[in-house]
Amino acid sequence: MNLRRDVFQAIADPTRRAILLLVASQSLTAGAIASNFDTARPTVSKHLQILTECELLEQKQNGREIYYHTNAKKMKEIADFIEPFRNMWDDRFNKLEAIMKNYQSKK
């Protein structure tokens, strides 16, 4: 069994990000994806395996070919992952501002 991969480690690699961009516009086979890169085919296969394991890519069988397409839900998770952290600071700073406005008017 393969270990579950960290999504953020997966997208830290520039080739894997390029693959995601490529597949985002249309479903492609492993061969078609590999033809866009100078890297060796097994290296591209390894990247596809990692992206599939962390569910950023999904496979779909079409006849004898396997097509890769992006998983929109998982992609959105990455886009949103910073939002709770931003909210946490936004809440704190809103509080800071309210406290100091009160402080200012008391003086």
Binding site: Q9, F81, P84, R86, W89, L96, E97, I99, M100, Y103
Partner: protein, 155 residues
């Protein structure tokens, strides 16, 4: 005026920038970030110690309703320039997040408005991403706890 907090975290880097504009004069913004009693109120944690000076140190602690310590953090202050800059370290105790370096700059925009620029540098890209994901993970835990409460009531 754009008052929303902005976070700029570039892919594959081990730092991030938090910026926010305040409807407050520079002096008040700085006071809010250097007076332990005020920090306590907006950070939502108890301030055990806070020495507002070069080579000073600080300690935060949060306890739950039963008095158990749920969060403890500490750091040292490297630079303390009133109304300009605070450079300090920050470390959450008993976690794997490592230590972070915080460079907090205070900027006067107008007589009544100011801006905070906080650059945080982590030990590695992985450490940074773990901290970024922390509130996300906590949010999920909180949802689980709420679910647990509801389930318990049904029993």
């Amino acid at each position: 005026m754009e008052r929303k907090t902005k976070i700029n975290a570039e892919d594959g880097k081990q730092d991030l920038m938090i910026t926010r504009e305040f409807d407050l004069p520079l002096e008040l913004l700085f006071k809010a970030c250097s007076d332990p009693e005020i920090i306590e109120q907006w950070m939502g944690t108890k301030v055990l110690k806070f020495e507002s000076k070069k080579h000073g140190s600080y300690q935060f602690e949060t306890t739950d309703a039963k008095g158990n310590v749920v969060f403890r953090a500490n750091g040292v202050i490297h630079e303390f320039s009133p109304n300009k800059k605070i450079t300090r370290t920050f470390e959450m105790e008993n976690t794997s997040f490592g230590v972070q370096l915080e460079l907090v700059e205070f900027e006067r925009l107008t007589d009544d408005t100011s801006k905070l620029n906080m650059r945080v540098i982590y030990e590695s890209v992985t450490h940074r991403n773990q901290v970024l994901q922390l509130p996300f993970a906590q949010g999920i835990n909180m949802a689980h706890n709420r679910l647990q409460d509801i389930v318990n009531k049904l029993k």
